[in-house]
Amino acid sequence: MIEIRWHGRGGNGAFTAARLLGHAASIHEGKAAQAFPSFGPERRGAPVQGFTRIAEQTITDHSQVYQCDCVIVLDETLCDAADTTAGLKESGVYVINTARSAEELRADPRFSDIKNLFPIDATQIALDLLGAPIVNTVLLGAAVGAADLVKMESVEMAIDDMMGESLRGKNKTAARAAFEKVKEVRRNE
């Protein structure tokens, strides 16, 4: 089973991304998936978490996620509010929205031990392609590129299923752009 944790702020779509990923894995790849938010009251701007589990067999586990194969951070200021690397496995993948490079991040002791570190300037991609700083689908594309969670085509189908008509095309383009960018980084490693 793969366990993924999303760090976002209330209203910026982290849980929507968690659901898109679960939808892609279950509906379009025939796997089992589960998605849930950090439980409790919802406040715009407050730190929130989302979780996705993906497995080959039915998931009956209803306990919280303690160990992660992948962590995705939608807003780098969250690293000051929460321990975003908690429970990240040694082989785990860490994707973060930042304008800083991997080298710059590694100078920070909080990130220096992460083997699979994928910074991506998702805000810039979102501004360029969506015309707004909404980064959830951008980071979904990046995470799929970084950790091979599902096929990118499944993500695009999930966006078609779950988003309104006016948002689908732009979000698929933005997610694909981030996916390709991360794939490029991995090819050059």
Binding site: S26, F39, T60, D61
Partner: protein, 391 residues
Amino acid sequence: MSRKAFLSANEAAAHGVRLSRPDVVSAYPITPQTTLVEKIADFLADGEADYRYMMVESEHSAMASALGASMMGARTFTASSSQGLLYMCEMLSYVSGARHPVVMVDANRSTATPWNIYGDQRDAFSMRDSGWIMLFVESGQEALDTVIQAYRIAEDPEIMTPVMVNLDGFTLTHTYDMVEIPDQETVDRYLPAFRTDNKMSLSAPKTLCQTVGPDFHTEGRYLQQAVFEKAKQVIAGADAEYGRIIGRSYGGMTEEYRCGDAETALVAAGSVAGTARVVVDELRRQGKKVGLIKLRSYRPFPKEYFAGLRDRFAALGVIDRSISFGFEGTIYSEVKACMYGGTKTALGNFIVGLGGRDIPKTQIAQMYDKLARMAAGEPEKEIQFLGMRWE
């Protein structure tokens, strides 16, 4: 054709309501039930359903309206949680005593104070003697399927008793999973239209919700008790028939998981049963003979089943997400009472998951360790709160 969707258990339950074709839905929103009644309203707004949706001013009115609608022969639904359920409490016994087959979902949540919006099962168990059949589910799929089954049970001419379907707040209500949504025609074959003579009628006027004094009161309660005894077969039958027509069933009142040669077993109701399955599988891989009993029906309680377990396990534990202060965990009391007459099985009660606290797999494994110690005759307290901050 059935179709698959990635849904929360609240949304799945809402599909169960839609497919049951209620005439009237009356509801007042409360966390964590809100997204369930919102989804029911969405179906109406999108033209996918044609029930009358009553937005009332309180939970008390929600249940009163449900009663009024049911008294007109309407198939009726409502849902609530926690303080909302407590507020509608007065109406629960009106509905059940007058034998109106209303179905409700309780999104299980703790009760104040301390104020807490998170999940445990205190709210439901405080309604133990309300005269409602009480079922617990483990997943979103089971929520959808059990809402449909609930109408079949409630409206059975020999039962005519309301049913409360319990979903764990947040751990189920806000968790998304793949759910198969049956098609309307198949559900229609399983659940016929509601017909009753127990309703207001100009051509056959009668008194409903009547006063009954000491002269007949005991006989009325005797008949309600007889109905709950009969409901044991009806719940099992409704579940089996659902399996034949729609393709899924859940064991009726209880389901055993890997209990065949088990030396120790846990009893669990709700979503924690799902987590316990994972722990059982892991311990089995380590060669430990452990099993799980999922409790699906709390009222009626499967007394004969648990009495039959009397000497089957070396130790039997019960997971409770509620406690009756001054006594024991709520489910544990019932299981233990069924063992009256003597048992060689060591019994233990684990109080966990209160006010939304997570029940991790390590904690369930710890329960099985404790059961193994009890089976070996080592001292363990009978009733234990696990995972305390000072441990």
